[in-house]
Symmetry: D2
Subunit: 344 residues, 4 copies
């Protein structure tokens, strides 16, 4: 049994990682750290994690694998020592997601804390980078929005059936904003309300563009991405829109079948992506690692519309991280991730 540590277990991504590791057959969570809660029993911070019988520490103890659920900026410096000791490291922050240091500095408005490591890091989306993940010691776990968006667009972009002119409208549950308090996430303000944010450019656009660009011929796709807050705890539904490239699909309703087949073929062997027969709801993924895709064609307007659902804390964070760890350490890819969604 490998010993696993989680840095900053006190946020939602950290706690979800702990939950998923509880029944992982190959690893054991032996050490958790967290700044403000150091010294407190984990079960006091998160009662559902009481069965672990762990205490939150100032620093991780001796472990074989390290996850960081620190915020960006703080995560890279905390991970450098582990990376230098050549431990398998999975970073849930944004610090190692962008390959270009300039991109990082432009989007995050700060110097990168460890630019020399950027090219060693692998973007941890197994559906696009499985082989590299299996070979690396440093995985940058994708952001929650990109985790819902990239699987929705990859087959179409790669097959060239859409123009590289894309609109992404995402709706996220409130846990995506984390456990840090804020008026926007105060129950009485967030409940029974939908709002848009990030209209001047959301961090995750950088990842989305980087990864989409790798899927299509130059030039980089023109992407508009608008995230929204929906009054629910978990879940992201992304609706992705792009004009159909002329002449690639049949004219008329037959295009619908063609695009479904394209997606089914693309994900035939993926354990966690399912191309579904009816428009999915986020709740179909509550607590599990699936990404549900529903590709549709707007025949009137000549557009592809793909609907994608994930649980933002699982396939959008902790579950993706466990899937990446399984690949890095040579475990079965689905280990620890086999639970069905909790519905309703």
């Amino acid at each position: 049994m490998k010993r696993v540590g989680i840095i900053n277990v006190t946020g939602y991504a950290g706690a979800e990682l702990a939950r998923l590791l509880w029944r992982h057959p190959e690893v054991r969570l032996t050490s958790v750290s967290g700044r403000s809660a150091a010294g407190r029993p984990l079960g006091e911070v998160f009662p559902h994690l009481a069965p672990f019988d762990l205490t939150v520490e100032e620093e991780l103890g001796d472990v074989d694998v390290v996850f960081s659920a620190l915020p960006h900026g703080a995560s890279a410096p905390a991970l450098v020592p582990y990376i230098e000791r050549d431990l398998p490291v999975l970073d849930l922050s944004a610090d190692f997601r962008l390959r270009e240091v300039d991109d990082y500095e432009a989007w995050y408005g700060r110097k990168h804390p460890a630019p020399h490591l950027l090219l060693d890091a692998v973007y941890g989306l197994p559906e696009l980078h499985r082989a590299e993940i299996a070979r690396t010691r440093l995985v940058a776990v994708p952001g929650c929005y990109p985790a819902s968006v990239l699987p929705a667009l990859a087959p179409a972009l790669k097959a060239g059936i859409i123009e590289p002119d894309i609109i992404i409208d995402s709706k996220s549950g409130v846990s995506g904003a984390g456990r840090t308090l804020g008026l926007t996430y105060h129950y009485a303000e967030a409940n029974e309300s939908v709002s848009a944010y990030g209209l001047d450019g959301h961090f995750h656009l950088a990842e989305i563009t980087q990864e989409l660009s790798r899927l299509c011929e130059a030039p980089a796709p023109r992407v508009t991405f608008v995230p929204h807050l929906a009054p629910m705890t978990r879940g992201i539904l992304s609706t992705c829109y792009a004009s159909l490239a002329p002449g690639r699909l049949a004219a008329g309703p037959k295009a619908r079948q063609e695009v479904r087949e394209l997606y089914q073929e693309f994900y035939r062997n993926e354990p966690f992506v399912r191309v579904v027969e009816a428009p999915p709801q986020t709740k179909h993924t509550w607590g599990n690692n699936f990404c549900l895709l529903y590709p549709a064609i707007d025949l009137r307007a000549g557009r592809l519309v793909v609907v994608s659902c994930i649980d933002n804390l699982v396939k959008g964070a902790a579950g993706q991280a466990v899937q990446d760890m399984n690949l890095m350490l040579g475990f079965p890819e689905t280990a620890g991730l086999q639970d069905l969604a909790v519905y309703p």
Copy 2:
């Protein structure tokens, strides 16, 4: 005091109309009808309406103004007798919204019940058709989605600053689906979940296209419209996307100011449309007749993004209908509609 009647008061739009008319200074609700509930006290069907002390009738009694909250198909035939008696009639169904009988029959899959009246009807969006509404006896109250979308796009389309190539992503509260039971609207299924629907074409696209076409030069805009269900009772947030037409706005951040001014100017005298300074949330309109607009520019992608919020039962149905009635009968336009939103 004019006497008002509501046909089919037993749905949400009908009940909301009653609520709004409760304190209207110029009219009195004197008669309400409803098929299944005929004979029951209104306060038993809807306890919050008990103070009216009305009984639901099989047929309306003698009234001076008629609202119909019947479903499409049933509404037109029920209204024909009142129209023939030249009473002011406001139809909340879709029956008189489309000017072309072919459009109706294509979208609604049935013969139109009274095609000879289509050209007499006015599409009841005061911001676009105030003068005609004031002159007509038959108003087709817009659908809830169009009520949120058209104000968001009208200024930009009319000014020619966008290409007629539009994507509309709308998120609606569950009351939009009415009071008729269905598994999709069963609490345990709808709660904590977002889903997309209408991916093969939603009825409201027909109205949206019709009205947008009247705002721009030929050809008709190419519109993709995808509605979503969000886990809240009331509210619609529509996010509208279109590429900027070249050369119409300043390059760079100044375009943001220009577009705000365009919208502010367009709605300067509108009592119920507010161009707001920060992205709005649907909850800011809970129970009142405002449409809140936030126009933004995605400078990277060269797109206009407009966020629009309404309460689907007020500006999206019953409030719009009261505003139309005020215009038709020469009352102050805001009569009965002056309450602030209930927040939080």
Copy 3:
């Protein structure tokens, strides 16, 4: 038109007061204050209040009536100057609710800031103290829980049909906790969850016991009160239990009718208390000033069970305060409070 001021408009009770005063026919809200938000437009702090076009001030300007929505401890000192100038003052905090200074100090753990004023203050529950409210210059607006509980128990206690041995189980929406941030009220933690709190004694028990004692013969009733947090924004439902006093009601089902008649008689002329025919839901009071009561008899166990519903921000705070002001200033008691509930 009297000019009204609200001290600390930036919490939910203050904002709700503003909302209700918007259309009050006899007064005008002319001044609002708030510590942290001083200098900001009210419409920036609360977008739904933008139509007031007021700025939050450090201190109230010249007004004829003062409401305080400050927290307890801070409210009394802020009000003393107005009380001394003999202005009508309505305090929504707990500072003037308890008649015995010792009670205040025992429950609130601090010296009372103005003990000499305690006996001048009137507990602002019109159903029990209408005449005194009309004569005083200082009203202590009841707490939200007592506002739901006292009307539920008063008729039974006064008529002596129950033993003075009472259990009160209340369920409140999250807005009752105010706008101050806290993990308990963080959306992702509060949503989809019910919890009990105040198990060692909640502040409001002191008011409840004080007022119930005035309704029955000595000795004071033995009361257990447990508040709960329910995942909704507004509303309190209190379920009140007490054993039937022997020999006061008919044996068997006839007791149900007797108790209904007792309640109906007690509230016959009350504008805001309704004894309803079927168990009410909190949502039937959303945004309005009603208290809905449903008295029932558990024939097997020989107990009275009364269910009471209010909107915690209206009858439980701001609406009650407006009703009190109407009485103090000689306006019609229902002025500004006539809106129906917003449902659904």
Copy 4:
């Protein structure tokens, strides 16, 4: 691997059973039946169950263990053939819960379909009847409310520290009402609202009284039980109140410690009951089989107050049933039930 069948998989209890059995190490779900959905893939009825790749059948195929999630009245007749074949049978309906046929007929208003089997059935609450469950072939899985209430009261009643005069106020999520449509469970009506029901006597009172009576000396306890609907999908919180019996606990705050120790001792070896240090929230049990108990003392009024939280679909139905099956078949009691709660 034992083969398991679920009769009526199409409700929430049936679907939850399937979910829990998905990863059970000792059994395999091989057959599911359901009236209306017969012939449809299970994954079409419940997308989260698609990985089972089962089809809903008219009748169960060959299995080794049978669960019934049919409604009461229908369940017993459907189970009789299996009982006669001496298969292990677990009934989630109320049909075998009451030992007295008269009780059944009084509460359920119908003849019992198989009265001769009543005394063979064991009430499936392992914390009270573990040994009998292990020996029987017919388990009546407790109702959701009793599953939350009985563990809360058993230690106190058995130890004689409370008077047998009990008030139980329960708050349930809406999934407790099942998947059958109804206006009360329509999203727009149930959302943002709390209501009481069953005020004339709820079915579950019969089970509660039967089981509590077995724990205390005659006479049977006098119990008032009021269930409430809370706006959430899963979870029951029951608050149980009883006067302290004189002289059994220390006077003063020490009683709090004594009662905690009593409860901790009572549940020392229970795998699924936890006596917690702080008032629990229902969400701490989301998706798992725990019952969380928080016993408190109201020192002023001399009452015991016990707060109990469960997931109504797990410990309140399907999880309890799996725990019972484990006992019946000699599997480890926690098999298939080891997942942590999904939080937040």
